[in-house]
């Protein structure tokens, strides 16, 4: 299905390619919810998957109303992508032209998805009812929640080096699996719900997590142990975190009534930026893999903004009036 160029707000999903693929152009995608009038039954402007063209224009792909929360793709074949949606987990094998709902009625409210970059047949989804796994690209799904104290999980990330190593986060905190989600163990501080987990794509031992009411958690040992980031971000509810693939000391965090926090010293201190931004609510962040220091921010109801000077000023990049739930850069394989 061909996309329609849209200038409305969308969620950008930005997936940064590995250094070995640095020669390939990376395309920015967004997971968008057009919130103006998003009520079941009502007509809305297209929501879902958008890719960035230039300036403030975006192209829409696939479904228009699916409550898209997250996207993941296979680095070796970027025509193959998964979408985490309210309706289930969707898969495309032709770069977004056509989509298939791979999950049935027992899987719903899919909050995030992660494709194993090493074994792309293995895909993991975080849902409001636990973690699920497929080993055949979505033909069948199995529950994979053994060890989770709370089955409400909101974020999931497969270690890019080792597909058996996965981190997931939700109401119970951060959980780690070393056996391909056969079981989970709790890591990190107890009683701290987690909203987002990201792995630095160039320095893969560095992981960062956004929490509810406790700011940012950082791990420098591959997710085994975690410490709270210091500074003004400490007590905040953080929906989105990002680390710079070009500089592991460079981090960003944003969430509920926060503005955008940026750290240049690996989370030891943070600066808060609100000037030039239309809102203090954000749900997606990503550093541009191709433009050093450029940070993209997905807002809540105001589209996408970007900064190239560490947050001092921001440029509107399109998708007005929408919630941007995820941003991913995908290396173009074509």
């Amino acid at each position: 299905m061909s996309g329609v160029v849209m200038t409305m707000a969308a969620t950008a999903i930005l997936l940064v390619a590995n250094p070995s693929q640095a020669q390939k152009k990376a395309r920015l995608y967004a997971a968008v919810l057009q919130t103006n009038n998003f009520v079941v039954g009502r007509s809305t402007f297209p929501s879902g998957l958008f890719s960035f063209d230039q300036d403030t224009t975006w192209t829409h792909y696939g479904w228009s109303k699916n409550r898209l929360n997250g996207i993941s793709y296979e680095p070796a074949n970027t025509d193959y992508m998964f979408m985490a949606c309210g309706n289930g987990a969707f898969r495309t094998t032709d770069g977004g032209k056509t989509w298939r709902r791979t999950t049935g009625w027992s899987i719903t409210e899919v909050e995030d998805v992660s494709v194993d970059p090493v074994r792309p047949n293995d895909v993991y989804i975080a849902t409001a009812y636990g973690v699920w796994k497929t080993i055949d690209r979505g033909v069948a799904w199995d529950s994979a929640s053994v060890g989770l104290d709370s089955t409400f999980v909101q974020t999931i990330q497969v270690d890019q080096r080792n597909g058996s190593y996965i981190l997931t986060g939700g109401e119970g905190g951060i959980y780690r699996s070393t056996n391909g989600a056969k079981s989970w163990e709790h890591v990190g501080p107890a009683g701290v719900p987690v909203r987002d987990i990201q792995q630095n794509t160039v320095h893969p031992d560095l992981w960062i997590a956004g929490t509810k009411g406790h700011g940012v958690l950082i791990s420098n040992d591959g997710g085994k142990s975690w410490h709270f980031a210091r500074g003004g971000v400490k007590s905040k509810t953080i929906y989105a975190v990002a680390t710079d693939p070009n500089n592991p000391d460079h981090m960003a965090a944003a969430g509920y009534e926060t503005g955008v926090y940026i750290s240049r010293n690996a989370g030891k201190s943070w600066s808060r930026y609100t000037k030039g931004l239309p809102t203090r609510n954000f749900h997606a962040l990503i550093f541009d893999p191709e433009v050093k220091g450029k940070l993209w921010a997905g807002t809540y109801n105001y589209g996408v903004y970007a900064t190239t000077n560490d947050g001092k000023s921001w440029t509107y990049k399109g998708l007005a009036m929408s919630q941007v739930w995820d941003l991913v850069f995908v290396s173009e394989s074509r």
Binding site: V40, S43, T44, S64, K65, T98, R100, G104, W105
Partner: protein, 628 residues
Amino acid sequence: MKSTVRCYIFLCLSLLFIPTLKAQELGHQRISKYDYELAFQQRRDSLINNYFNNDHWGFVQAAARFYRGEKIDEAISFVDSLVHRQEVRPSGDMFWMYPQVLITFTGDKYIPDHLKKRMRALWKNYHPYRGDTENHWAMWYTCMYLMSQYYPNEPGSAWFDGRSSTENFNEARDYLISWMDLTTTKGQGEFNSPEYFGFYVAAMSELYTFAKDPAMKMRAKMMLDYLFADLAVDNFYGLDTGAHSREYPGPVVNQLLQRTTAFSWLQFGNNIKRYRGESFILALSGYHIPEIIYHIANDRSAPYIMEEVKRTRHRIRYSKVMDKPVYKYLYMCKDYSLGSIQGGLLQPIQQQTWDLTWATPDMKMEDATGANFSYSNLMSQNVDMKKGFNNLFTIQPHYSALELGMYFPEEPEMNIESVLQSKGTYNNPDKWTGGSPYERIYQQKSALIALYNIKKGAHYEHIDGHFPKTLEIDRKNKGWIFAHGGNTYIAYYPLAKYKWTEEQDGYRLRSHNLKNGAVVQVASASKFKSFDDFKKAIRALPLETKTKPVPYVKFTNLSGDQMEFEYGKTPILNGKKVDYQSWKLFDGPFLSADVGSKKLLMKYGDMRRLLDFNTLTIKNWIESDSAN
């Protein structure tokens, strides 16, 4: 020894004939099957004719023409317009799906191929969202079942979701069966919702009418019986009374606005004539309630109690239990209906925790011949009442990110703003719908105790009571507030001081004490010589209340039962804790079902009807011994 044994045997035999509190006294005259069928068919025809004669180009208008086999050209032009509208600006999700299913099936032999092709294309190019509520999924999966039956053996590329007809059909069938199983084992989540009842009925009606598989047809028919039996026991002259999982503000204070009135009129023959699209779909299906449900819905000659177990909507976080039991209690007699659930956040946003409704002269029910007659014929007094506005309840207005986060996956902190787009009163301090984590209810027959222990710093630190202007109210003395509506006397004892304000639709009792509550005692006026006698009797009842450290009431009600209720603790009745764990799915003189059983037994006099979802059978019989 011999005489002792004889006495013992005599005593045991005697006990068999002592009527229990739940025994049904027959007073409602049984009508002949012919009269009942005739009356129903007349209503059904009236409903279908209404849409047949309506010229607006809508789904039900088109379906009425297809059903009658008349004005077909007109129907086809309606369908063309509807398809065009959906092609140009697709919308509706499942609310588009089920009307589209309706015209697809009813118009099958009339709609020309070129239009059918466009209709087919809609199921490929439009992506209806599956939704996030129980009624959404009932509609969505019913439609996917029927449409993948209608378009069998088609590949995934022909469907909006990339799944083949077979995949969609199997998934839909599995979900529908799972939902029916859950409802008949743990109770319905979106229980007794006057607003959303019709969508379940529309879905099951279409399944009943259009499914080819006899087993699925039978399931649909049984679910219709189940839904209408559940409605029937709460039905009070056509109004759906008691506690509700979900309702909107308007019908909460004027129950004549309830959407279920259309179904009560069509199936039970009570209430005023009402037409709705969903009741039209039901009418088209040919389904009508069995006679036993008709009697259950209409016979209010003897008081009865219903105890039921429902469940919450799935709790996805902030709870150790996904489907917490909801304990629903109802006391019904010919003059009033008092119903409640236990309080707390049991359903998001639109919960109605308790309600007292009394009969007024404009309420109607069906007599033995099928003709409508007014309730005022039954009343010993002539009372001049306005239509509707005949109910009373209290509420602790509450809204929170926690409530939303418990039931919805979106970011709780941001979700309030999203909810307000469709439920504009959610954060209104004066609202009349919604549950509260600070509210607990205990009811025993016609007495109810509501307790509130509001946390300091809660968004709203007050409780409100709704008293309609149709009541004659006496607040002269301190303590009890007395009220008289229809043939019903009401006594309301506030636990804390309050302000009394007149509003458009009634009076608002507002109390700002964090520790608060009310005792409510209701009685039929015919049981007392006068209103003053009632007041005297109430004042004489033992009553002990305190608000600190937590609200507490000990009250002996008019039935002589001692009710003891402390906020946060299990209520105590006549010295024994109420054992909610032993409650059945349905327990009363008319309905009986054990938790986990997948069965429902209906009883009326010597009539019996058993729905058994384990065997997909319906059994009817006459009990030889009518004593229960």
